[in-house]
């Protein structure tokens, strides 16, 4: 345990800066890969080939797109509330970036090893809402405002089931610390929470259905929290132009964009940490395990869920607002509460 940067340079201000910068250095190439994935996977799923011109088979397309966004004119509407309008994209991005502070990359590297990791992620996750409302309201545009309102309604309703999932895992793990949650699951693959967690014996099989349900609940609510299809009603193009970022262009739009992709990684990483053993190897502690392989497993598993999000986006149509609320309040929330109680009960008799 511990942090390899501290081991390397000692516990000083330089080390702290390096630790701050590492996630940022990770986000940029990751965002490029995710954008390329979005373009290419989406194209393949629709029987197209996607971008083919920039670089070999179009692999440089995201770079071109980022450059394009950076050199675009940065427009602020005249009647917009300028300070809020300019601040909003950065707040959204800060919310996404702050979550990286407690996301472990391997057993030797977690930017901040606070023992409230899960709670922290949950707290800064709500940051995005503030940014979105700020942006939507300050734009002085009815579509922006509608999008922002939808976004708030959606994120707040889906935070509750997500919170219940966090609670269930906290109950069974007995901690909110990310590294400890992952450590609990290390060892063979059936120690992962989705396969019933580390406890042995017959009671393990009683746990499995509840964990699977919680897994699905979290997967769905994480989609809603990142405003991804099928829950992209805050930015539903056919209804409200582009929702809360209708008025944004250039660099500030790029910020919103980055935040969305960063958020995708955050929720994927949380799924992996909560249910799929984080950085632990699926082959047990003896094979392909260790701090370096940990990075590979952590990022690899998270990338798989980023892929799943892209996959879902190109498969499913958008939900209606009432369907979204129905699903959130009448299906996911009762289900997650029931699972939470069942798991608490089982954990008690275990």
């Amino acid at each position: 345990m511990g942090n390899f940067v501290f081991d390397l340079i000692g516990k000083n201000i330089v080390a702290a800066l390096v630790i701050c910068i590492i996630p940022l250095v990770f986000i940029l190439p990751y965002a490029l890969i995710a954008i390329l994935g979005e373009l290419k996977i989406g194209a393949w799923m629709q029987d197209r080939v996607g971008p083919m011109r920039t670089g070999w088979k179009g692999v440089l397309q995201p770079v071109a797109e980022v450059v394009k966004l950076l050199q675009k004119e940065d427009i602020t509407p005249t009647i917009a509330n300028k300070p809020l309008f300019n601040l909003a994209p950065f707040i959204v991005f800060i919310g996404a970036f702050a979550a990286f502070a407690v996301l472990p990359f391997s057993e030797k590297f977690i930017p901040s090893g606070i023992n409230l990791g899960l709670f922290f992620v949950f707290a800064v996750g709500s940051f995005a809402v503030i940014g979105i409302v700020m942006g939507g309201w300050a734009s002085n545009n009815k579509y922006s405002l509608l999008g922002a309102m939808r976004s708030v309604a959606q994120i707040i309703s889906y935070e509750l089931p997500a919170g219940m999932v966090f609670l269930s895992i906290a109950t069974i793990a007995g901690t909110l610390d990310m590294q400890t949650i992952i450590l609990n699951q290390s060892g063979p693959i059936w120690n992962w929470y989705i396969f019933g967690g580390p406890q042995g014996g017959a009671i393990k099989f009683l746990f499995i259905p509840f964990f699977v349900i919680l897994f699905i609940v979290y997967l769905i609510s994480s989609l809603a929290e990142t405003n991804r299809t099928p829950f992209d009603i805050p930015e539903g193009e056919s209804e409200i132009v582009a929702g809360y970022h209708t008025e944004y262009s250039g660099m500030k739009f790029a910020m919103f964009f980055m935040a969305e992709y960063a958020n995708m990684y955050v929720v994927s990483a949380i799924i992996v940490i909560l249910f799929l053993g984080g950085w632990s190897s699926p082959f047990g502690t003896s094979f392909m395990d260790g701090p370096i392989w940990g990075i590979f497993w952590m990022v690899g598993k998270a990338f798989f869920f980023v892929f799943v999000q892209i996959w879902l986006r190109w498969t499913l149509p958008r939900l209606r607002v009432d369907q979204l609320m129905y699903l959130g309040w009448k299906v996911l929330l009762p289900l997650s509460i029931a699972c939470f109680m069942a798991i608490a009960f089982l954990a008690m008799i275990n």
Binding site: M45, Q46, D47, T315, L316
Partner: protein, 165 residues
């Protein structure tokens, strides 16, 4: 009448209401689609070679150094887009005419092929040329210099016309 009985929720089975099996079906379709061969052509490098039945831009047939056209004006008359302008002039031979001026406005042409169909001399035919670009409206009016195409290049179309017209 009990309208409640016919809501969507009551018509669906439990599995359908659960939505997850259906979702899995949909996702398996998109996943399989990902690996299927794609038919997109990388256009400027991979060009499409149309068959004789293709109606590209209309051209005048150039045979043995001169056009077949006898400037009868039928094509100009039939053209629904009024794209063709023909001006006749006499040749040295008696009762024979040739088009002094033959212009097709390619911005108007709709590639219907009526001109080809009506021509008594098979002098105007549709070519395989589908890459038309011009930088101004004036540039879009093709004169005889650009319309005349040697007969050898149009053989596919002429064969097609012989068989099907």
């Amino acid at each position: 009448m009990n309208t409640n009985k016919n809501t969507e929720a009551q018509r669906l089975t439990f599995a359908e209401k659960l939505y997850l099996p259906e979702l899995a079906k949909g996702m398996s379709i998109t996943f399989r689609e990902m690996f299927k061969p794609k038919f997109t052509r990388q256009y400027p490098e991979q060009r499409w070679d149309p068959t004789g039945s293709y109606r590209g831009r209309p051209v005048l047939v150039l045979e043995e150094g001169k056009e077949r056209c006898v400037a009868c004006g039928l094509c100009s008359l039939v053209c629904p887009a009024m794209a063709i302008e023909v001006q006749a002039a006499e040749t040295e031979n008696e009762k024979e005419r040739y088009p002094e001026k033959f212009e097709i406005n390619m911005l108007r042409c709709i590639y219907c092929g009526f001109c080809e169909e009506v021509c008594p001399e098979e002098a105007i035919v549709m070519s395989k040329d589908y890459e038309l670009l011009f930088s101004s409206q004036k540039d879009a009016i093709y004169g005889k210099d650009r319309l005349l195409v040697p007969v050898e290049q149009l053989q596919d179309r002429l064969d097609f016309l012989k068989e099907y017209k």
